[in-house]
């Protein structure tokens, strides 16, 4: 359904993963990631288009993550 690949199916069983991740919770992650992927792609093209007209895109607010603490 969503970029499913069975290639890595075997050998991924991890005995340390002691939580039940839940089938629905696995599936929904793929769905959200797919939607976000589309969003990211759209935004990238949009900023390219804006770039053609000399409009600067806003800065990445997530630069926060490598934070001041470093």
């Amino acid at each position: 359904m969503f970029f499913l690949s069975n290639a890595l199916l075997s050998g991924l069983g991890n005995e340390l993963a002691y939580l039940d991740p839940g089938s629905g919770s696995f599936l929904i992650q793929l769905l959200i990631a797919a939607l976000l992927g589309v969003g990211v792609a759209l935004r990238a093209s949009w900023s390219k288009i804006k770039g053609l007209f000399g409009i600067k895109s806003e800065t990445d607010e997530d630069a926060e993550d490598e934070e001041a603490i470093e």
């Binding site: 199916l9 991924l12 939580l19 991740p21 929904i28 992650q29 990631a33 993550d65 470093e70």
Partner: protein, 467 residues
């Protein structure tokens, strides 16, 4: 340092049994974490990838030392660690809104940094976050696993239940709903959160997907084992990073306006004159400096005004109150001032946090996490004795169980605040006198000093536990 002795005398901690990677135990009062052989590869990756050093430097993970003594390892241990101690353990149902939000963001920040170093969090329990030096930090060193390309986030469901659902409920419904975490040990079930949340939250992409649609998917695909197997390998690292970043953005947008308070601006409306306020602070400061406590428990601390007499002297102080607004204000002030010795906590003394979880041994009750060296009960006793009808002898008994020293303020019936409490009800409190108060407390304490606060009818007592 621990002496050489048999590990059989060690005690495994009640909260440490779910994860097969290792467990916590104490030996001669010192806390250790055992790392099992099955976790060896992951532990080495954490230490060698540089992730451990980076997280510790950023204050996001507590540090540890590897214990070299042979007794510690035994046959089954790969390593034994001695973790940095957390001064006072707190639980999510005791956190103010912003405290909870910061804990959620810390977890996501850790996951993002882990992914960069080729690891991933294998759990996202709110109980693994504790406040150290005034900031949220992960205390479970064994929460990391080597990231496998294509895997979705195994702790996603737990993150949503432990962090996103309670925060969304607090932000969009009622801040008191954090108390659902007391009932559900593994976080608030998403179908329940989805039902309680206002319909308008479906218009927000983050909450629509991570809570509402997620809850529906959990129900629909509960038994879809093959489908899950098929999905493994379906999520690229970039897609996973996008998911984490979207969770970050969703959490950041959650907010709670701490207006409309019962006690929030108590100090502005109270009948203390400036002289009385300063005198009260001076007396407490003098006693704190005399006793030199290591840990202070301020009960009914409001926004932490008096807690700071201790915490500003670098004495670790738990600043508890039952009003979410007061605790929120206390936490925001602490964060703004980068205060390191204060822990604002939401605790209702009428019904303090109980022992919870399996065999009631996973989470300690509020009292079990002490005792403190010193307890503050300032402008508190009239609320407990009159508003809540708790007899003075029971107050003395409980306070005595919480710590060695007690600074308590006796507020007599003639005080205007007490008069206010008695206005709407019959005065059945014949016992509420200074003489009965002293008698009740002397059963547990020796009176060390008594000082009348200037320009008030209130008295401060320094009491020392008889035990």
């Amino acid at each position: 340092m621990p002496k050489t002795k048999k590990p059989s005398s060690s005690i495994k901690l009640g909260a440490s049994f779910r994860d097969p990677s290792g467990f916590l135990f104490t030996d001669e009062g010192i806390l250790y974490r055992k790392v099992n052989h099955n976790y060896a590869e992951n532990y080495d990756c954490l230490m060698e990838s540089g992730l451990y050093a980076k997280l510790v430097k950023a204050g996001l993970l507590i540090s540890h030392q590897e214990v070299k003594q042979a007794w510690a390892k035994g046959d089954t241990a790969y390593k034994v660690l001695r973790p940095e101690l957390v001064p006072f353990i707190s639980y999510p149902y005791e956190w103010a809104f912003s405290q909870y939000k910061d804990a959620a963001l810390a977890t996501l920040s850790i996951q993002k940094r882990a992914l960069k170093e080729g690891m991933s969090l294998k759990d996202a329990s709110a109980y693994n976050i504790q406040f150290v030096d005034g900031r949220p930090a992960l205390i479970d060193t064994l929460s990391f696993e080597i990231y496998q390309e294509g895997q979705p986030w195994v702790a996603y469901k737990q993150f949503c239940q432990h962090f996103l659902a309670p925060l969304a409920l607090m932000a969009f419904k009622d801040v008191r709903l954090s108390q659902l975490m007391r009932i559900y040990i593994d976080g608030i079930p998403l179908d329940l959160a989805s039902q309680i949340l206002p319909g308008s939250t479906r218009l927000k992409f983050g909450l629509l997907t991570h809570i509402h649609v997620h809850a529906g998917a959990q129900k629909r695909y509960a038994d879809a084992e093959e489908e899950r197997a098929g999905m493994r390998g379906g999520m690229s690292k970039q897609a996973l990073t996008n998911l984490i970043e979207n969770l970050q953005a969703t959490v950041r947008k959650l907010d709670w306006d701490a207006g409309g308070t019962e006690w929030g601006n108590y100090y502005d409306i109270t009948n203390y004159s400036d002289v009385a306020f300063v005198h009260k602070k001076e007396v407490i400061a003098g006693w704190v400096e005399r006793v030199k406590p290591g840990l202070v428990l301020d009960l009914g601390a409001n926004n932490g005004e008096f807690s700071r007499i201790a915490s500003d002297r670098e004495i670790y102080t738990v600043s508890s109150d039952f009003d979410p607004t007061a605790v929120e204000q206390n936490y925001r002030r602490m964060r703004k001032g980068k205060e390191k010795h204060l822990l604002p906590l939401l605790v209702d003394l009428i019904n303090p946090s109980p022992a919870l979880g399996w065999a009631n041994r996973e989470r300690d009750s509020f009292g079990q996490r002490g005792p403190a060296d010193m307890v503050f009960a300032l402008a508190l006793i009239h609320h407990l004795a009159i508003s809540n009808n708790v007899p003075l002898s029971l107050l003395a008994e409980y306070f005595a169980s919480l710590g060695q020293w007690l600074i308590i303020e006796f507020v007599p019936k003639s005080d205007s605040q007490v008069q206010k409490l008695l206005k709407s009800r019959e005065d059945v409190f014949n016992e509420y006198t200074r003489e009965s108060f002293e008698q009740a407390f002397e059963a547990y304490y020796v009176i060390n000093e008594v000082i009348l606060i200037e320009e008030t009818k209130r008295t401060l007592y320094l009491l020392q536990n008889r035990e």
